[in-house]
């Protein structure tokens, strides 16, 4: 039970790596924004309270991967021509409407392209990774302890993959969505979130999986350290025109790319134009990572509304997966 970690979804065994890459990292967006000049501070829309207005429905869909792919090592940005070529290549590679000759690959593609909403563009800065620090665009190495923990967890998950619900990923269990965070990452579909502001609260409502974070801006301290939550405990403040959100108190069972309960996540939201936000997050967890790391994602305004994503309520898949495993066992026993 202790190993209820969703590592499997995020850093799955090698064999599934390509598929995952296709599904999650090949995101894109209808992005126009960051190509234009940033808004001047005085032109920023303001709420009635005078705070920078971040409200609206936003999408972080992009095809730019979190980490810089090995074949782009040493190349932090594309030229415009390279970016266009990359977008084309990704679009072809990720088109699941192509039926693969290999049945296993075919079943992994799951269903038609029209179910997806990955975006088709690289981020406007033409960066080759969302990670901006360290400069190599890669997640820093895990500490030896964290490495061991991650390996143990992975091994446990592999061994118990269909023994019970605990062997499935948190996403499959409808407990937490890998890309809904915090931090929020682009995913293959439903990359939408809504921001609402009152005078001392900001709400971030993520469509996946109907998670709403209500973030106090009133200077109140974090909750007691023994209160642990899947989404942690967030406190916000304004740094000029930037909303800064600090999140701690993550559940022991939550792990973002190898993080542990000591994760201190800092998110920064800056309105850069009427239709764009710059979203930046820094992961600081000295017991898990050898150094902090930071990613940036351009977020664009999108059409609402946010629809209900009642994950658990319709989760026939969990029953099917476990029932399938039991049926296989019965057959093997004969």
């Amino acid at each position: 039970m202790r190993w209820r970690i969703f590592w499997r979804a995020l850093a799955p065994p090698k064999k599934r790596n390509n598929m995952m890459l296709r599904k999650t990292a090949l995101a894109a967006c209808v992005l126009i924004a960051l190509s234009g000049p940033n808004m001047r501070a005085q032109n920023l829309p303001r709420t009635a309270d005078g705070q920078p207005d971040l409200q609206g429905i936003w999408s972080n869909a992009t095809i730019t991967p979190l980490e810089r792919p090995a074949d782009l090592a040493g190349k932090p940005t594309f030229t415009p021509e390279e970016a266009a070529a990359y977008e084309k290549q990704v679009a072809e590679r990720s088109n699941v409407d192509h039926r693969s000759a290999n049945a296993e690959a075919d079943v992994a593609s799951a269903y038609n392209q029209f179910w997806y909403d990955r975006g088709t563009k690289a981020v406007g800065t033409r960066r080759t990774s969302l990670i901006v620090d360290p400069p190599d665009g890669r997640i820093p190495a895990l500490t030896p302890d964290a490495q061991k923990r991650v390996q143990d967890t992975r091994a446990w998950m592999q061994e118990h993959a269909t023994d019970g619900p605990e062997g499935r990923s948190l996403g499959e269990r409808c407990i937490l969505w890998a890309t809904a965070g915090p931090p929020m990452m682009p995913g293959p579909y439903n990359n939408n979130f809504q921001i609402l502001q009152s005078h001392d609260r900001v709400v971030i409502l993520n469509e996946m999986i109907h998670n709403a974070r209500i973030i106090p801006l009133d200077g109140s301290p974090h909750v007691a350290s023994n209160i642990r939550q899947w989404m942690g405990d967030s406190r916000g403040h304004w740094d000029g025109n930037t909303l800064v959100v600090d999140t701690t108190n993550f559940s022991d069972e939550y792990s973002f790319r190898g993080s542990d309960r000591n994760l201190h996540l800092t998110e920064r939201f800056t309105r850069t134009s009427p239709d764009t936000l710059l979203y930046q997050f820094t992961v600081d967890d000295p017991t898990a990572f050898t150094k902090p790391w930071t990613a940036q994602i351009a977020v664009t305004r999108t059409k609402g509304p946010i629809f209900e994503y009642a994950c658990h309520e319709g989760n026939y898949a969990m029953t099917d997966i476990l029932a399938g495993a039991r049926a296989a066992e019965k057959k093997a026993a004969k």
Binding site: V223, A224, N226, I227, R228, Q229, S251
Partner: protein, 270 residues
């Protein structure tokens, strides 16, 4: 300076000072509760805490319940905690016992067996209670298990015997009802998390009206056998405003008979 003008100036200064002072004065003035017939603050009414202190006085995350069949209805709701300073200052041996209590809470929590809740737990059980106030006694009737306490406003002397709900002596400190409670047995718990006490428990409760429908409730807890120092919990209590609000019966004894005596039930002959 003409006399009249001087008088005018003086009046003007006084007026300005007063006008300026009013809002400040109003802000600092503590809430003055409405009075009962005897001139004391009126605490009469049906009250209830709105928190999860009964699950755990300390801050706590949500977690699965102890009974699989109950699913989400039996799960434990989270809470930010009501203990001042965050942690209950247990002595080392007592901290160990609390851990054991917690591990065996389904078996050991007196609430599971429908036992009387004790004090202060009665105040933050997830059930309403009613204060009925008179000059000589203040009675508190709790919906949970029909528990009841009489608070003697004339000093009742020492408790003759130990009891679940203790022996309550009250007095007024300004608008605050202060209740000194002693004479406890060592059977009740403070919450479902196994927080406990010995028969040396001494509780001082403070009920302070802070607005028309809110009492601030504080309890200072002292027990030299269990805690390294006195500690305090505090929370608001809210008034029930429903039309015709009343306590109903929650006589839970009948609901626990199978749990407590089922193993002694006659087995059907085979």
């Amino acid at each position: 300076m003409p006399k009249q003008f001087r008088a005018f100036l003086l009046n003007a200064i006084v007026a300005i000072l007063c006008v300026g002072a009013i809002p400040i004065f109003a802000q600092n003035q503590p809430y003055k509760a409405p009075r009962a017939a005897d001139g004391k603050p009126n605490l009469n009414g049906i009250w209830q805490a709105m928190n999860t202190a009964n699950w755990d006085l300390e801050g706590h995350s949500a977690q699965a319940g102890q009974v699989v069949a109950l699913g989400a209805t039996g799960a434990e709701p989270p809470g930010i905690g009501v203990v001042e300073g965050g942690e209950i200052p247990y002595l080392p041996a007592a901290a160990q016992k609390k851990k054991e209590n917690y591990a065996n809470r389904l078996k050991l929590d007196p609430e599971v067996k429908c036992y009387l809740p004790g004090v202060p737990r009665a105040a933050y059980m997830p059930y309403p209670f009613q204060i009925v106030q008179t000059g000589k006694v203040i009675l508190i009737s709790y919906e949970y298990d029909g528990a009841v306490r009489t608070i003697y406003m004339d000093n009742p002397g020492p408790a003759p015997v130990d009891s679940w709900m203790g022996w309550s002596a009250g007095h007024w400190d300004g608008d605050t009802l202060v209740v000194d409670v002693t004479g406890f047995n060592d059977q009740s718990w403070f919450d479902r998390a196994g927080d406990f006490h010995s028969d040396m428990l001494h509780v001082v409760e403070r009920y302070t009206p802070v607005s028309a429908n809110v009492l601030n409730y504080e309890a200072t807890i002292e027990d030299p056998q269990v805690f390294s120092r006195p500690w305090k919990i505090s929370m608001p209590l809210y008034k029930h405003l429903e039309k015709n609000a009343q306590l109903l019966e929650f006589k839970c004894v009948e609901f626990v008979e199978e749990l407590m005596y089922g193993h002694l039930r006659k087995q059907p002959s085979k």
